[in-house]
């Protein structure tokens, strides 16, 4: 919980943030639109008052209605992790500019987000599938990918009845609680 960081972020990026800065435990979260990602990241990386030189993680998220790309940064100037959520990517054609110009190590993390979600990172020179075979059709971590579907197209897989029955997590809880009769 670093209030100084919150003040600095609010004063520097005030108008670009699409949601109030959220702090909990040792994390500070800011939300921006996807187009702002290169500028915000470059500012955070280059300016000495921020100096977020370490990109800790780059993740894609499918919230069911939108897609997001989440960056976690670390700096010596703050005791918090900084989480940047690039929110508002559409689910049918999610695009976000790439941060590989700042951190070349983000290349594979973006490839993974592309492979798992279908998020296109504009500016990534090597955006192809990294985990699944190169001609795989679906994006496995999306919320509309249910485990049985593409298992059917993979080699050596016979899909069993049990897998087809699986209802995704929006259905019912995984464990049933037996209650004593009232």
């Amino acid at each position: 919980m670093d209030p100084a960081l919150k003040r600095r972020l609010a004063s520097r990026f005030g108008e670009r943030l699409t949601a109030p800065i959220h702090q909990r435990h040792d994390e500070t979260e800011i939300r921006i639109g996807p187009g702002d990602v290169p500028d915000v990241c470059r500012t955070l990386h280059d300016e000495p008052e921020f100096a977020f030189l370490v990109l800790a993680d780059l993740a894609g998220v499918d919230t069911g209605t939108t897609m997001q790309v989440v960056y976690h940064l670390w700096s010596e100037t703050s005791s918090d992790w900084l989480r940047i959520v690039a929110d508002g990517l559409t689910r049918d054609d999610p695009r976000v500019p790439s941060v590989t110009f700042l951190w070349k190590g983000a290349e594979w993390m973006e490839r993974e987000a592309y492979d798992m979600f279908g998020i296109t990172f504009e500016g990534n020179r090597d955006l192809r599938r990294i985990y699944m075979p190169p001609d795989y059709q679906s994006f496995p971590l999306r919320k509309d990918f249910f485990l049985p579907d593409d298992a059917a197209r993979s080699p050596g897989a016979g899909v069993r009845h049990m897998e087809q029955v699986h209802v995704p997590r929006a259905g019912r809880p995984a464990t049933t609680i037996r209650k004593a009769p009232a």
């Binding site: 989440v70 951190w103 594979w108 971590l141 995984a174």
Partner: protein, 410 residues
């Protein structure tokens, strides 16, 4: 080679004898892939004069698991390379989304199977943040104790593999002696030799017992001399040192750009250790140094890990002396429903930063379980470091980055 146009950009007719030969030999994926999908692929799969492709396929004695590297070589020099991953992709993140919070911990273990406790730890920490649960101090000390033992195990294996990839077949046996002893110790504590499944949300699974403590005491009394003796095989070995010195040098700017963490970045001089930089658990109360080197070459990465073993021994000593009494698990409801929200937790493991980013939606299953693994990020550096070296040295460079394919592929 005839003056054929670059293979990446031409039509390949099926009556071409090279194609028919490839087919007769049963090449799994012909190189170059046709057509190239990205800019980088087109650049890579264009052969210059005198260059050729060599495929280090998924089964190869020198890769740390199933990794396929397509090398573009000019004689014995590596000009460029293209790692192909995914041969161990098991869909862990998707499986965690469909499992309870408790079950997810079991999926996290086999990611980096050498350092399983470090894979479990950030997941468990993130769950605890979402549940606003603090493990009792004894549990924290047990976590640190077992994980530092795991760190020594991992580094012992690293030393063995480092030498194995350079061609030395003996040090791996010594590394495995260490590993076996620590594995038996941890089996006495956790019940498992390899995929420990020891951490729980709110604490750990088992307390210290007589067998573990007797094995641990036994081992620690001779650990320093034994490790020094094992290392004496290598540290003073002229072939080893001369081969590794000056190889695969990475400077600080490159290391930060490639998102290195752990011993790889400490070998370049940046003292980034998340146990000190972003303290978690009981590390603020423990006294240890962060070994750093300046050269940034393979030898520096190796020596940083060797020094870390000694620091881990110090930490284990302090844990045993300072271990408080008390419960080893916090009180939790049977059915866990964390608050909706997001949590990120990171720990410093033997390879670097292990992290987990968990999004909870209030149900008993995680909505999104993102696992960040250091080996995945570090393996990108082979593309920067390997070109320009001989093939044999290229393998040494990759070994010094210490990737584990279970973590790379998730």
């Amino acid at each position: 080679m005839t003056s054929a146009p670059p293979r990446g950009q031409q039509e390949v007719p099926s009556d071409d004898p090279r194609v028919q030969l490839d087919e007769a030999l049963g090449v799994f994926e012909p190189v170059p892939p046709y057509p190239p999908r990205t800019e980088r692929e087109a650049e890579f799969y264009t052969l210059g004069d005198g260059e050729m492709f060599i495929n280090m396929g998924p089964q190869h004695p020198s890769t740390h698991g199933v990794l396929r590297i397509v090398l573009k070589i000019d004689g014995e020099n590596v000009v460029d390379l293209d790692p192909v991953l995914g041969y161990l992709h098991r869909g862990v993140e998707k499986l965690c989304e469909n499992a309870d919070y408790h079950h997810s911990i079991a999926y996290l273990d086999p990611l980096e199977y050498i350092s399983s406790l470090f894979c479990e730890w950030p997941g468990v920490m993130a769950f605890e943040k979402l549940l606003d649960v603090t493990p009792p101090p004894r549990a924290e000390y047990l976590r640190v104790l077992s994980s530092e033992l795991n760190r020594i195990l991992s580094h012992s294996m690293f030393i063995g593999w480092m030498a194995l990839d350079l061609g030395g077949l003996t040090p791996i046996l010594y590394g495995l002696i260490e590993r076996d002893e620590i594995a038996e110790m941890l089996a006495a504590l956790t019940g498992q030799r390899l995929l420990f499944n020891y951490f729980r949300i709110g604490g750990v699974n088992g307390d210290l017992n007589h067998e573990f403590l007797s094995r641990l005491g036994d081992w620690m009394s001779r650990a320093t001399t034994q490790i020094d003796a094992n290392l004496g095989l290598l540290n003073e070995n002229e072939i080893f040192v001369r081969r590794m010195r000056g190889l695969g040098t990475m400077d600080q700017a490159t290391a930060l750009r490639m998102c290195m963490t752990g011993p790889n970045i400490r070998a370049t001089g940046i003292p980034l250790d998340f146990r000190r930089a972003h303290p978690y658990s009981v590390f603020p109360e423990l006294d240890f140094d962060i070994p750093t080197r300046d050269e940034g070459d393979c030898l520096a990465r190796y020596l940083v890990r060797v020094d870390e073993i000694k620091q881990s021994l110090r930490i284990i000593d302090q844990c045993l002396n300072q271990m408080p009494d008390g419960p080893i698990m916090a009180k939790l409801p049977r059915l866990l429903r964390p608050r909706p929200g997001r949590a990120y937790a990171a720990v410093e493991g033997p390879r670097g930063q292990y992290a987990a980013y968990v999004i909870s939606d209030g149900t008993d299953q995680p909505f999104r379980m993102r696992i960040h693994d250091p080996s995945f990020v570090h393996l990108q550096a082979v593309g920067t470091l390997m070109p320009g070296h001989l093939i044999a040295d290229a393998m040494a460079v990759m070994a010094s980055l210490d990737p584990i394919m279970g973590g790379v592929d998730k």
